[in-house]
């Protein structure tokens, strides 16, 4: 099996593009990613296109209509918030298997405003409020309170995640929201679903990101060695059975299983990472994932955020991009945008937020739908 390398990647600034189609946003991201590597669409032998909310729209074909209809195989991918990373992994697998020398992954989403709607159960019965809540913030608030019940994690500790990530966003021109939010402001902002306030929820924005993956041979042949990154792990898991799944979708065990496999595949551990981009769809989620990814021991997530370990300049910086809390969270684009952020650091092109001498980084996304299931994808990348 050959190694796969990330040779080109970019994202459009996440934001609101009411007058542009999803395909147009995706096409812009594809051209940016090709330009990043000095490539043409004619160099691409397969396309993996991710969108969750428009899963039936042949998004990959729509994008190639914009940038060049080369007739290559296109696979359209939907996997909740893991959609973009799932598309990226398909490109990695195809290259590793030797099927293609160069593949493109693109993730796109155009989001509505407000709470995401989810597919319903029994026809005609509207369960929201009658039987708990199907809203995404409620789901991640349940998981946060579970952690609080076990370990005494506080509302203030959860809120500090938003303070940190919003601070990071002030260094990222591609984030949707770029402003400091002091702790008092985060805690006093509108309560959405206790303990997540409005400033502790990711923002629904439009976005697109794209990446080009190449085999080692192709990378060398095209002279792309200098800025290429080795993909040391590319892992996808679905939710394993957990006893609580009838009440709340699993985001913890699915991440733990994925992390274990990713560390095995990369033959390294959390201590070897220079930075992490993880799925902070809600502030409560970030603390859970510190433990799920092994960045600290069980029950230590609260003290990790208190100690500034995961802030810029800390020993294990997390979500230097500003995270989903600041960048915004266009579902299908998020997984590739996370990879874009770590690629900037590993190429030493991250400007004001650069992690000094970054060598190895991990990206994590996990998506799920109440009562249905979840998907987690983790990538480990290395500067050669």
């Amino acid at each position: 099996m050959t190694s796969a390398y990330l040779v080109g990647i970019d994202m459009i600034p996440f934001g609101r593009y009411p007058h542009r189609s999803a395909a147009d946003l995706g096409a812009e991201a594809v051209l940016l990613a090709l330009d990043d590597a000095g490539l043409s669409i004619n160099d691409i032998q397969a396309v993996y296109a991710g969108t969750h909310l428009m899963a039936n729209a042949l998004m990959g074909q729509q994008i190639l209509r914009q940038v060049g209809e080369t007739g290559v195989p296109i696979v359209n991918v939907a996997n909740a918030c893991a959609t973009g990373a799932t598309a990226f992994r398909e490109a990695v697998l195809a290259v590793r298997a030797g099927q293609y020398q160069m593949a493109l992954a693109v993730g796109i989403e155009k989001m509505g405003r407000g709470l995401l709607e989810v597919p319903r159960g029994i026809e005609g019965f509207s369960e929201e409020g009658e039987v708990a809540s199907l809203t995404p913030p409620a789901m991640f608030s349940h998981l946060g309170i579970e952690h609080a019940f076990k370990y005494g994690t506080t509302f203030e500790q959860f809120a500090k995640v938003a303070v940190k990530n919003h601070h990071h966003s002030t260094f990222n021109p591609k984030a949707f929201s770029r402003r400091e939010t002091p702790l008092e402001e985060v805690m006093a902002s509108e309560m959405i679903s206790y303990p997540n306030t409005k400033l502790m929820c990711s923002i629904n924005v439009d976005g697109a990101a794209a990446a080009v993956v190449a085999s080692e041979g192709m990378m060398r042949r095209l002279g792309l060695v200098a800025r290429s990154l080795r993909i040391r792990a590319s892992v996808l898991t679905s939710n394993p059975f957990v006893l609580s799944e009838d009440a709340v979708t699993d985001f913890n065990q699915v991440t733990r299983n994925c992390a274990r496999l990713a560390y095995e595949a990369a033959a390294l551990g959390p201590d070897d990472l220079d930075l992490v981009e993880l799925h902070d769809c809600f502030a409560t989620a970030e603390l859970l994932h510190y433990e799920n990814l092994g960045l600290c021991g069980e029950g230590e997530a609260g003290s990790l955020i208190d100690g500034g370990v995961t802030a810029a300049g800390g020993a294990m910086p997390v979500n230097l991009s500003g995270g989903l809390l600041s960048k915004g969270h266009p579902l299908g684009a998020t997984g590739i945008a996370n990879i874009y952020e770590v690629a900037l650091h590993l190429r030493h092109e991250a400007g004001a937020r650069q992690v000094p001498d970054a060598q190895i980084a991990l990206t994590h996304v996990v998506g799920g739908i109440p009562d249905l299931g979840s998907a987690c994808a983790i990538h480990v990348l290395e500067r050669p």
Binding site: F125, P195, E245
Partner: protein, 141 residues
């Protein structure tokens, strides 16, 4: 005009079509002992086939987690408490906790809860009233 006047809001709730009397329907795996809500084709935990048997879930349990929902979908009255309860003897159930103050300080781990059923104000296509469960705190002894 149908004689049936009640129907179930979820496939894990059994509702008597005439009286509206309801109960939780669960399954237990003979191979691995897993208890879950409703029925499945095979055990989701150990994958054994033809090992799930109907299991009477308890109508009481202890609070596993909660959230107080302040922002919900349009038309849904807020705030309300969404609670998750570990049922005595197995099974995990979510429900709205009614008649309890929406105060996080009052919602402690292990709080004793019981499962109640009531007709809702929603009807299915045949005009039958949906019956579903909610949660209430057990009265202090």
């Amino acid at each position: 005009m149908t004689e049936e006047t009640f129907s179930s809001a979820f496939d894990y709730i059994k509702v008597h079509p005439k009286s509206g009397a309801a109960s939780l329907m669960g399954s237990r795996c003979r191979s691995c002992g897993t208890v879950l809500l409703g029925a499945r084709r095979a055990c989701p935990a150990c994958c054994a086939r033809e090992s799930l048997e109907e299991f009477q879930l308890a109508m009481a349990g202890s609070l596993r987690s909660f959230t107080i929902v302040h922002r919900s979908y349009p038309g849904v009255q807020t705030p309300f408490i969404a609670a998750i309860v570990n049922l005595d003897g197995g099974g995990v159930l979510k429900g709205t906790l009614r008649n309890f103050p929406a105060d996080p300080m009052r919602l402690s781990r292990g709080l004793r809860l019981r499962v109640q059923f009531a007709p809702t104000d929603q009807r299915d296509r045949e005009g039958r009233t949906f019956v579903c469960h909610h949660l209430e705190a057990e009265p202090a002894l």
